[in-house]
Symmetry: C2
Subunit: 198 residues, 2 copies
């Protein structure tokens, strides 16, 4: 059975979201259908507003509301140390440890030959440029401890000479094969502390 | 770490949705943030449009785009048999069996003393009124085969005398304790066929 067209359209849009299958989409749509109109409007507004207000920081490619992201714009942060992460949610995970006071560089992914993602698809060129221009003293690589993240870490480490700076990798100690995003603060903090030369 | 305000607002709205925890909300927000602006706008529009265009059918309380829902407005359907379900998604599950050609009555829930939901919170009064006015020959109760659904079925069956019509219950055969929504079409079709007098 098909639902009325507006419901079908909503189901279709919900099913495009990651991790949302047909059954989850039905539950979400039902929730929206029985919710107060104002609640549904707030959800829709939040989606539109986030796209209007948020762009990528031109320096580190984190999400930014102002010209630079909140971290790049913060004079308290050590501008000479760059922590390289795959995605903004990994940046958020590192921030939660409270162990890092430098800035970040968000690659917007990891090298994955299987998915056809080569280094040119990532913000690695921009990292190299940044390190060349800014007085960077250390690049801490905090990509995920899985195959793609390790490959990416090794690729960036090999650019060490042109970078001409210290390149470190957060310590193993994180469950291998897992996602950085799911690590607890203490484990991730320890891994940061024990980072080693690459 | 907190994200920029528009991201936090989106996370907050996403976390209000059923089955969406903080981690899922982050994944969804990230997807929306990196999606094309047009895709995000389509999602927002679908949410707003569904609230604008869809209301409850005043006869059966299914979702309706026109004055009546598509099923109540269909002259091909047997207007004298009413299948009582808890929610529109249960109606959709019964429709998918292709075994039922009557109309529906959506209770908008089930009796659940634990959740403080008594019969007065459901569309039972409207069902009784409908059966009194329309020339109903049979009421098929297709509430979920769990505690709340059974309680609701028994409650409606006890109104049998004032209803003065045949009241049946879809057969067991569905996994008890489960949700009608997740039954496969064949099982649910058989259960409909083998409905018994209450």
């Amino acid at each position: 059975m098909r639902y009325a067209a507006p419901i079908e359209r909503l189901l279709e849009e919900l099913e495009r979201l990651p991790g949302i299958g047909p059954k989850s989409a039905q539950r979400l749509a039902y929730h929206i259908l029985v919710a107060e109109a104002a609640d549904a409007q707030r959800l829709a507004d939040a989606v539109v507003e986030v796209k209007r207000a948020i762009h990528f920081c031109p320096r580190c490619f984190n999400f930014a509301e102002g010209e630079l992201c909140a971290i790049c714009a913060d004079p308290q942060r050590d501008q000479h140390v760059i922590c390289v992460v795959e995605e903004p949610r990994d940046l958020a995970a590192v921030e939660r440890t409270g162990e890092f006071r430098g800035t970040y560089h968000v690659l917007q992914g990891a090298i994955s030959p299987i998915d056809g993602i080569g280094p040119e698809r990532l913000r690695i060129k921009e990292l190299v440029e940044r390190v060349g221009v800014e007085e960077t003293t250390e690049v801490v690589i905090a990509t995920n401890p899985n195959a793609e993240g390790e490959t990416t870490a090794i690729y960036i480490a090999r650019l060490r000479k042109p970078l001409g700076v210290r390149v470190t990798r957060i310590a193993s100690g994180l469950p291998v094969g897992g996602d950085l995003e799911y690590a607890d603060e203490v484990t991730l903090g320890r891994a940061l502390e024990a980072r080693r030369e690459m």
